[in-house]
Amino acid sequence: MRSKVVIGRLFRNRQARYGSIALILLVALAYIGPFLGSYDWTDKDFLAFLSPPSADHWWGTTTIGQDMYAVTLRGMQKSIIIGLLVALISTGLAAVVGAFAGYFGGWVDKFLMWGVDLLLVLPSFLIIAIISPRLRGATWLWFVVLLAAFAWMITSRVVRSMTLSLREREYVLAAVYMGIPRWKIIFRHIVPNLSSLLIIDATLNVSAAVIGEAALSFFGFGIQPPDVSLGTLIAEGSRNATGYPWLFAFPAGLLVLLVLSINLIGDGLRDALDPGSNS
């Protein structure tokens, strides 16, 4: 019944509707858009270096004559997947580890929190730098795992402390006295009551992952040229943002749109899950 009620409320929520439409359009643009343009992202037009947007090159060209439209969309395909996956994995991991540590307490808590503290003190950038050369040949999805693995610890600490107070609530006790297994109580009563925090965390993680990926790529890890992502494009374009604004404006604008649509969906989902809101 809960899922039915929540979905019903989600559809009635205007923010969520607009957010989902925007996200669907962006995904469609990223995957169908390249077929509409006349250039492939690997093509180079040696007659047009750094040309501004025109009828031929819709979003202009780069320093080496690549079509910005094709390149940006190619980058966006990567970034959408990286952003969404990293956010889902890291927030999910934070919720599960934090809630289990907080609910079970004792040795489970000690062990999990020891792991969290260890990951917190390790310099994540260094670890990624060491590991990524070994993954050079492997699929770039490994990169998603690496990014996610270092983004969840602080949230899980917050989740743990909130769980500590939630587990004393009478409805949790009631569930225990009904004979419901403890892992089910965690997913049914603890995690949904943390959903506001988790949703905000996940939406923030999407943009953080896209930007973080760009930073790593800039230093030569992650997405490697000639392949592109929104992050690498923004990093490159920002150097010439005033002189050749199209290099910067299109990838940055798409990133803003992407993050905005996910924020809208997140807000709508939070309202749909929160019985206190009047949607």
Partner: protein, 689 residues
């Protein structure tokens, strides 16, 4: 001469929420005005408006005159001089009313020095005097204590000391004893009376407890939906109420001296201040409603004898001499079939035999060592027969809740035995424990916290059904909802859309989902308003009779217990002090603690309250980490104080066990010198403390 004059006070919060809609009253010197009303009736907002303590966005109009000086619209600097000097306030929660990082003595001295030119050492001395006045033992030492080192009752006394520090003309007490246990409540009310005698102040006493008002107030103001609906001298109002709401309120409270039979509930809920009905706000719940009630709101009109009533049918009520029981429909509760069989022949559903639960008291951060033991439950035994209600009563900290938890956990106890439906909890495997959980369910105290706020009501009730693999869950949920008096369409709503009473009904529906044999009720009505409480009590009684349930009922409200329970066990500091059939224990209590407990309960009857002699207990509950030797009650026992030296020896050395009394079949007390006396209808020959 009146100290305080309130005229047409209204308070409106943003969003056009009219919390107070025209309150007028006067308080004279030395007079106690009681304001009663349910939560949301605007009684606290009224007093905050008088003090000028409302948030800035609240719009206050009307007039509040203190000694003919207008307080509404006066700027903050002027009000600061009045607050704490001419008007003092005593709040409900004494823990949050003190700053935790300053000592009690410093905080009282501060209150003195703000309004009087006084040297620091003199103010400190005055603080000690004040603490002595409110009956704090060793006031010079205790003045140096921090608020957390005080017990709840002592904190409330210190709060009173602070309030009277500057000899105020008016004391506003906002539910001053609601958070306290009955024996402590009796002490604090006594202190309030002393404080009033000392200062000669007028008191505005705001509470929902009609018993407290009956004993304290000279005049009473009844509020409903932000307006006074009836006002008058306390006797007139209690014995001859003229407004159906007051009549219903008085008829709906269970009484410790009351007769059997169902309570009279007021149907429905108080209206939301944002959506008031047209006409009389009580009309939708009123059994005497006629069409003209909906036309306009009746004004508060004087009817002689200092009384004011806001009801168009008050003349008729007076003329016919109607009471709440005549007007409000009394529900019919079908009798139970089980009780026809004598108790001895009925099967036992729950048996506790010497149950023990001790908690270790640990110290140290890295290397924990045991420094003591908290004797939360120290060997208690009782049994519940089928179709019976056993009430476990006692003050906070006596081990009631721990006992419940030990039963509900269905795990081997530290000591003793817990036998549920013939199955010993020490010999249960996982599957047997789970199936037994279906027969043993719990209803919690706080209807707010007991329901997952993020789950629709349908899912909440379905949860136990799904956990135990039931089919056709939706139909059962609908059936359960209608069983507890809610509409099946409510299943898709979240808990917070419901009022407190409705939420408690949802909690009951969830507990009934698996057709349990034994229901554990942990203070099920103590968080509810009086008019709602009666409905829930009646529901519990009806369910018990129709479904053949047995209840283990934990409560601190002895009046509710008298009404609902068949047998009662009084707990003190982890032990049972007295146990027996309700009629025996209430009418002829034998243990001094039970006697004190019963005599401390305020009765909603001004005449009896005035003539009653109270057995006041001294001090607070000793710490369960360090219980007294021998009889645990002896440190506070009024009887122990009267015994001779030789007799006392036995109390100190030997721990009394529950012994059956000769005069009754089902009555036992754990006292060496048990002696049955009557305390509810006060007789003059009792020892007065």
């Amino acid at each position: 001469m009146s100290i305080l004059q309130v005229r047409d006070l209204t308070v409106t919060f943003p969003g056009d929420i009219q919390a107070v809609r025209g309150v007028s009253y006067e308080v004279s010197r030395g007079e106690v005005l009681g304001i009663v009303g349910e939560s949301g009736s605007g009684k606290s907002v009224t007093s905050l408006a008088i003090m000028g303590l409302l948030p800035r966005d609240a719009v206050v109009s009307g007039s509040v005159k203190l000694h003919d000086r207008e307080l509404i619209g006066v700027d903050e600097d002027e009000l600061v001089k009045v607050r704490g000097k001419s008007i003092s306030m005593i709040f409900q929660d004494p823990l949050s009313a003190f700053t935790p990082v300053y000592t009690i003595g410093d905080q009282i001295a501060e209150a003195v020095r703000i309004h009087q030119k006084m040297a620091k050492d003199k103010a400190a001395k005055r603080a000690v005097e004040l603490l002595d006045l409110v009956g704090i033992p060793h006031p010079d030492v205790r003045a140096k204590s921090f608020p957390h080192e005080f017990s709840g009752g002592m904190r409330q006394r210190a709060m009173i000391a602070m309030a009277i520090a500057n000899d105020p003309d008016l004391l506003i007490c906002d539910e001053p004893t609601t958070a306290l246990d009955v024996t402590i409540q009796a002490q604090v009310l006594e202190v309030l009376k002393t404080a009033q005698r000392e200062t000669g102040a007028g008191i505005v006493m705001i509470t929902h407890d009609l018993g407290v008002i009956a004993g304290m107030a000279d005049r009473v103001l009844v509020m409903y939906a932000g307006r006074p609906v009836e006002q008058g001298p306390v006797d007139e109002l209690y014995y001859r109420p003229r407004m159906p709401y007051t009549m219903g309120l008085l008829a709906s409270i269970p009484r410790i001296d009351g007769e059997e039979g169902p309570l009279v509930p007021i149907e429905g809920n108080p209206p939301s201040p944002a959506a008031l009905p047209p006409g009389c706000p009580f009309a939708p719940r009123c059994p005497m409603r006629i069409d003209s009630c909906d036309e306009e709101e009746p004004p508060l009109t004087p009817i002689g004898g200092g009384r004011h009533v806001a009801c168009i049918r008050s003349r008729e009520i007076e003329h016919k001499g109607l009471t709440g029981a005549d007007v409000f429909p009394v529900p019919v509760i079908p009798p139970s079939d089980v009780v026809r069989v004598p108790r001895e022949q009925r099967p036992t559903v729950l048996e506790l035999d010497g149950l023990v639960r001790h908690y270790p008291l640990m110290k140290g951060a890295v290397f924990k060592r045991r420094v003591g033991t908290v004797h939360a439950v120290d060997g208690i035994s009782f049994d519940i027969a089928e179709g019976e209600t056993l009430a476990l009563v006692g003050e906070s900290g006596c081990g009631k809740t721990t006992t419940l938890q030990q039963i509900m956990r269905l795990e081997p106890p530290q000591g003793g035995r817990v036998v549920v439906l013939g199955k010993d909890s020490a010999h249960l495997d996982r599957a047997a424990r789970k199936s037994l959980r279906g027969d043993l369910q719990i209803v919690f105290q706080d209807p707010m916290a007991a329901l997952d706020p993020r789950m629709p009501v349908g899912d909440i009730i379905a949860e136990p059904l799904r956990a135990h693999g039931h089919k056709d869950v939706a139909a059962r949920v609908a059936e359960l909802l209608s069983l507890v008096g809610l509409a099946p369409e409510h299943a898709e709503r979240y808990p917070q859309r419901f009022s407190g009473g409705q939420r408690q009904r949802i909690g009951i529906a969830r507990a009934l989902a698996l057709d349990p044999k034994l229901l554990v009720l942990d203070e099920p009505v103590s968080a509810l308003d009086v008019s709602i409480q009666a409905g829930v009590i009646n529901l519990l009684e009806k369910l018990k009779n129709t479904l053949g349930l047995s209840y283990l009922f934990v409560a601190h409200d002895l009046a509710v217990v008298r009404h609902l329970a068949d047998r009662v066990a009084v707990m003190y500091l982890g032990k049972i002090a007295e146990i027996g059939a309700v009629a025996n224990v209430y009418d002829r209590p034998a243990h001094p603690y039970t006697q004190a407990l019963l005599s401390a309960i305020p009765l909603p009857d001004p005449e009896m309250e005035r003539t009653r002699k109270r057995i006041l207990l001294e001090g607070d509950l000793p710490s369960p980490a360090d219980p007294p030797s021998g009889c645990r009650f002896r440190t506070r026992c009024p009887k122990f104080a009267r015994l001779s030296e030789a007799e006392r020896r036995r109390c100190v050395d030997e721990e009394p066990s529950v012994v059956r009394l000769a005069s009754a079949a089902d009555h036992g007390a754990a006292c060496h010198y048990a002696e049955e006396i009557e305390v509810i209808t006060a007789s003059g020959d009792q020892e007065e403390k």
